[in-house]
Symmetry: C2
Subunit: 269 residues, 2 copies
């Protein structure tokens, strides 16, 4: 069955949707069969990104790789148990539909602790956690001493991942591979960047995640959202009035390097 | 009673907590009595920021202005109605405790559509909505045509604000003042920045919000989270190993300019 990649982080705006879309398109361009699932049923960033892509492909006549996609719409019930059962059913039926016809399923999750979010973490093979180069973002993983960088206490998102991992191991002895990637990084090194780096390294041993090279802050990762294009696509276009740039090539390399770091079951180096 | 400022945006990571903390400290330093409320009961970014500030004040012996603060802890009930009643009670009792002894109440909200979030929008006098310089963030306000920038459709967060505004007007004839401020802006103007600016201006007329000058991406807005210090504070410190910088002064000016733009009931220019 498909290898499941979840983009997860309870911290809002860490780059989950951006990373999920770029990973999915990168894997498609490598020739794999990719499906995507949007569990942020209210915000639907990934869903809209792909809808924009579909619409642009039709409007421009360009052939664009598009993953098979579904989202789980928000469910409102008076009983929490009822809402969760309904969401569970929607997710499982959606997955059953795609898991044998694709190599990868990339799942985008919301920036909040929801039932679907916890469920996604229990079914993933690879968990990709982007986070801003910030101790505010870091705080959902762990609290650190302001001066020594020592880990004082594990925070709620790290505990969530630990719970999900344990349940998965007990269920089918599979090991969740957790990769943390810093996102929206400035080009200039700063005292803050050095501190976040040090704290992440200390924490990676304790929590059992690997650290990928960071992804830079690049307008190209978001500028083409309205037409559903990504850094992996050809962006030179008369309609859009765009030309190739070095930043574009660098952005593409950063996503490819992330794919490599994930050590996915692919026939590649 | 106190003038209520809510930092709201369903989009995660738009800068609500950062803006809320900086606004609260700025108002305190201007001599006003300020209380703060954290409605992101799971993530608690504002609460931790202020706890760190309290701890640093004690450890360093520095006098630091600290707002009276409370948060509403997450409530889990089997019945949604029960959970909401409990949250309503916690918020109203907390507010009753502070609303007559303070000039301003600054409320931080989560990056997701929760009952407490909708409630906060119904009681605010001033709504501050930060957003990243990005059409992905813009998407929770409205969908625009990729080429013409025309507004195709209003999105979920804008609808939420419209509902809250209407309810407030019907309740006590008060008008919610909505100010949108772009956050984490790059210093270099880009085609993307021009586009977001154009889209925001079109939308501001339609949705009835004012646009404040943007706040720049500055490490100083997040670097001192572990010691609870903000751009409004003196940051030169032997322990922290920091010296004054131009960015610090510029950051302070950006927050003060936002305060001015909010046209709060203050005896100031
Ligand atoms: N590497 C990057 N370079 C430039 N902009 C980026 C980058 N990564 C993300 N962004 C922008 O940062 C903002 C947050 O990113 P994104 O929406 O992907 O995060 P998220 O974790 O999915 O947020 P949420 O919690 O709301 O789901 C968006 O405006 C996005 O366009
Ligand atoms: N102007 C700024 N300059 C530099 N970093 C910033 C700025 N504003 C916010 N940040 C950083 O961006 C990230 C998101 O900001 P913040 O947590 O305040 O957003 P939020 O809207 O409260 O997020 P959430 O939806 O998770 O509650 C944090 O890492 C924060 O430190
Ligand atoms: Mg997202
Ligand atoms: Mg916040």
């Amino acid at each position: 069955t498909a290898h499941v990649i979840v983009c997860g982080n309870e911290k809002g705006g860490s780059g989950k949707s951006t990373t999920a879309v770029h990973l999915a398109i990168a894997l498609l361009k490598m020739g794999h069969r990719v499906a995507t699932v949007d569990l942020d049923g209210r915000q639907l960033s990934m869903t809209r990104y792909l809808e924009n892509r579909r619409r642009w492909a039709a409007a421009s006549g360009n052939q664009l790789e598009i993953p098979q996609h579904f989202h789980v719409p928000p469910v409102r019930r008076n009983s929490v148990g009822e809402a969760e059962r309904s969401e569970f059913k929607a997710l499982m039926e959606g997955l059953a539909e795609i898991e044998y016809r694709h190599d990868f399923i990339v799942i985008d999750t919301p920036g909040s602790d929801t039932y679907l979010n916890r469920l996604a973490h229990r079914i993933c093979d690879t968990l990709v956690t982007p986070l801003n180069d910030s101790l505010v973002d870091f705080d959902v993983l762990a609290r650190v001493d302001a001066v020594s960088n020592e880990v004082i206490e594990i925070s709620q998102y790290a505990e969530s991942v630990r719970d999900a991992r344990r349940e998965r191991r007990n269920a089918d002895n599979a090991m969740l591979d957790w990769v943390v990637v810093r996102n929206r990084m400035a080009f200039i090194n700063s005292r803050n960047e050095t501190k976040v780096d040090a704290c992440l390294r200390k924490l990676s041993a304790q929590l059992g995640f690997r650290i990928s090279d960071g992804i830079s802050e690049r307008v190209i990762f978001r500028e083409f959202f309205p037409v559903g294009l990504t850094a992996l696509d050809e962006l030179e276009d008369r309609v859009l009035g765009t030309r190739p740039t070095l930043s574009h090539l660098a952005a593409r390399q950063e996503i490819r390097r992330l794919v490599q770091t994930l050590r996915l079951p692919i026939g590649e180096d």
